[in-house]
Structure formats: C-alpha cells, structure tokens
Amino acid sequence: MKSEKELIPHLFRSEYSKITAVLGRLFGFEHIEIAEDIVSDTFMMAAETWGQKGLPDNPVAWLYAVAKNKAKDYLKRNQLFSDKIAAAVAYNSPETYEIEIDLSGKNITDSQLQMMFAICNPIIPAEAQIGLSLRILCGFGIEEIADAFLTNKETINKRLFRAKEKLRAEQVKIEFPDKEEVASRLNTVLTTLYLLFNEGYYSLSQNASLRKDLCLEAMRLTYLLIGNEATNQPAANALLALMCFHSSRFEARLGQHGESVLYEEQDTSLWDDELIARGQHYLNKASVGNAISKYHVEAAIAYWHTTRTADKWEHILQLYNTLLILEYSPIAALNRTYALSKTIGKEAAIIEAGKLGLNGNYLYHCLMGYLYSGIENTCAIANFETALKLTKAKADKAQIRQYISDLKNG
C-alpha cells in the first residue's frame, strides 16, 4: 500500500487530467479555469481530509464524487451559466433535469480526445500547445512545466493564459472533428505529441524523472488515439512505434551524471526488449496503406538502431536520405552525416559535413569533433572547444571536456 504522500501526487497526475477533460468539455474554453479550479479544490480537499481521517476505501470514487458535487454546486449557483449547460444536460436526461456529470471510463476517454484536438490547434504556437497539453491533458504542475522548458513559472503562466485567451477568442470548440477533417487535424495532434515526447527525450533539464514522465505522457496520449477507431491511423501507430523504440534506450542513454551516452557507448543490456517488441508491433500496424509519414521513417531508423546486423548503417543512411527529402531538419542532416561516416568512412563524411551550412550549431561541432578524432586531432579539439562555448548544460560540458582531454593525452 502506498503511503498518502506518494498516493496523492500519483492520483493527481492520473486523475486530474481525466476530471479536467470531462468538466472542461462541459464548461468549454470560456470557463476552462473554473473547471481547473474545481479539480484543484477537489485535490486540496482530498489532501486535507485524507490527512486527518485516513484514506477512503476507493480514493478515485471519492475524488469523482467530490468533483461532481463541486461542479453541480457551481452550476446551481451561477444561473447564467447553468442556463446554457442545463439545456445540454436536459437533452441527456429529459426526465429528471438533474445535472449529471458523466465520469465513466468511456466519457473520460472521449473528453480527453476532444480536448486533445481542441488544444492541438495551429492558431496557438507549438510551445503553447505543448504547455496546455501538459497542464490540462497530463495534469502537470506549472512548476514542472517551467522546469521542462527551462524557464520560470511566470513565463509559463503567461504563455498558458495567452493560449487560452486565443482559443476563447477564436471560439474553439472542445469537440471531435468531422470525419473529413480527422486526417488533417490528426496531423497537428501528432506533431504536438511528437514535440512533447522530444521535449522529454532531448530536454536539457537535469530532472531525469520529469523527462521520463514527459515521454510516458506523450506515449499515453498517443495510445489514446490508437484506441479510437477514427484516429487509429498508420501515422499514429508509426509515432507510437518511434516512441517505443526511443524509450527502450531510456536507461542506457543517460549516464551516471545525467550526461547523454552516445549510441555506440551504450550498454545494450540496458535496452528494454519489451518496448522494442512493442515498437515492432506498432510499426507493423503502421505498415498499411500508401502514405508514408516522417514518423514511419523515423520509427524505421530507430528500429535499425536496436538491431545488431552488419548492414544496419546502410539502411539507416538510406532512411535518413528519405527523411530529409520528405522534410529537412538540421538534426536529421547531422545524423545522416554520422551514418555516412559509418558507411563510407570519416574522411568522406567530413567533406559532406562541411557542406551542411550548420556552422555555429552545437551538435554540428560535436559531430565534427567526433569525425576529426583520430584523423586530425587538432581540428577535433578545435571543434569540441567551439561546442563547449555553445552549450550551457553542465553534464554535456563535462563530457566534452573529457573528449578534449582524451585527445590531448593521445
């Protein structure tokens, strides 16, 4: 049995988002803060009551009952508001006119999906979409979000406030898109979930457990999409496959001091075989239809990384070619050059790297440092020293200093 100290944060994370989604859908973006306040009050009350009287038999049912009552009280007190809600509720239960708040599993899932489509809306910036997702869909505190973005609470509060204002001003409805719209709207949702995952996976934040939570939440939300018939599309499966493959290396890629461990130096016994198998499952499910998304290509690259065959780098190189032709990104260009060094050697890769036009990019100088190591060590050191000036992350700085000292000591 978990102690209360552990139980409340755990329940907060998992239940906050569920109740907020249901109440948020009921209240709309016009009054989303009220929904959030009701849920926060509910948890505050739980902390106080449970602290005094001990845990109830069924904490989740307790939370739902309190949240429901609080919401009903609010609606009764606020006449103007209840006119609008009552009309909708009366339709569902014409006989009693009693306000019913449906916290069944199905309605929770539906509400979360609808909330996802409402938040992942290109009228607000990507950062705001991720922030709102973390707050409303994942139940993260403002401080945690600030930590993940390496900024302060004020900035996050402002960002979320502006985003909600914008969604209100544009009268964005919390609803499922029309059948014809699902495909294009799903793209935006997938992009946000992809960025949310990357925020955790590549974040500079030193808080390893927070970073892992971001990744797990992105996976949970993607999983919700796959559980729904309309959104169970190949691209969503490909994205989940990608996330499974990446997270299979979660333990192996973080060193003792929070520095990232290069793929080559990872202890492969730390790779999670179960997640790799799940990744393969979703990648197979993604392999239907003719459309190929960047998630398909990235998942395939991540798959080859988990294998130990001799020709894997050739496969990875070709996939990076495909990915770059689909959509350019500096990180893909750098990774392609790394794969190139594995297939045609470092000297040839140095020439290609020079053409990338990425001078001044931290990872570019890390790559150049790696490529020149053992070929022309003075150039390697110069590049690592440039990289050192371009990063603020302590763990990365320490690692680069290590590379430089290894090179100097021959």
């Binding site: 190189l317 032709i325 350019y328 050059t337 290609e352």
Partner: protein, 115 residues
C-alpha cells in the same frame, strides 16, 4: 533563395542492360545524391521520374508514340533545388550519378511567380 530545375536527359540505349545488383547500386547513388542535397536544405522539390511510355501531341491532333520519336535524347525526370546562384545549382548537378549512364543534366532557372 532561388529555385532551379535540374532536368535529367538520357539517351535511350537498348543495348545497355543492368544486373539487379547494378540497378540496386544506381538506386543507392541517386538516393545518396538526393539525400546529400536535402541534408544541405537545398532540395526544394524531389520532382518526378518520367516513364518511357508516353506520346507527343501536335497541332491537328497528330499523336506520335513516345516522347523520344524525333529527338535523340529524352527527358527522364526532374527535381527542383534551391540555391542562391546558378553556379551553386550547377555545383549540385555535378554530383548527379546520371553521367555514368551517358546522360546529362540541364540546369534551368525557375521564373518566380511572386516578384
């Protein structure tokens, strides 16, 4: 950034036959070349490859088989690259694997629609 079309011209030569391994190698060369340009963010549009089948339509409903009836060379495809200058686009074209098979690349500036 300006856009240039790289137009691939081939001579159709029925005497040249490639083994599956050679075909695989040619495919890889093309893919690496395109991937290399894309890695420099200079690929504007991967364009299309054009098949041998086709027809030429002329005035008065005159239709002739094949696009290669009267010209020695045929166009086998095109891509669009983005560079500052024609010279840079020509530099990219120099890496094309087409020359091994006797073809050539025509580099043409694309007239922008918004001036």
């Amino acid at each position: 950034m300006n856009e240039f079309s790289l137009i691939f011209r081939n001579e159709q030569n029925p005497d040249v036959q490639f083994s599956p391994e050679q075909m695989q190698e040619i495919l890889k060369q093309w893919h690496d070349w395109m991937g290399g340009m894309a890695a420099q963010n200079k690929m504007a549009n991967p364009g299309n490859r054009l098949a041998f089948e086709g027809a030429v339509v002329r005035k008065n409903n005159v239709v002739t088989d094949g696009p290669y009836a009267e010209i020695k060379e045929m166009i086998s495809g095109y891509i669009v690259v983005q560079t500052e200058t024609l010279a840079e686009a020509i530099e990219l074209a120099k890496g094309c694997p087409i020359y091994n098979a006797g073809g050539c690349v025509e580099v043409r500036s694309i007239i922008p629609m918004s001036m």
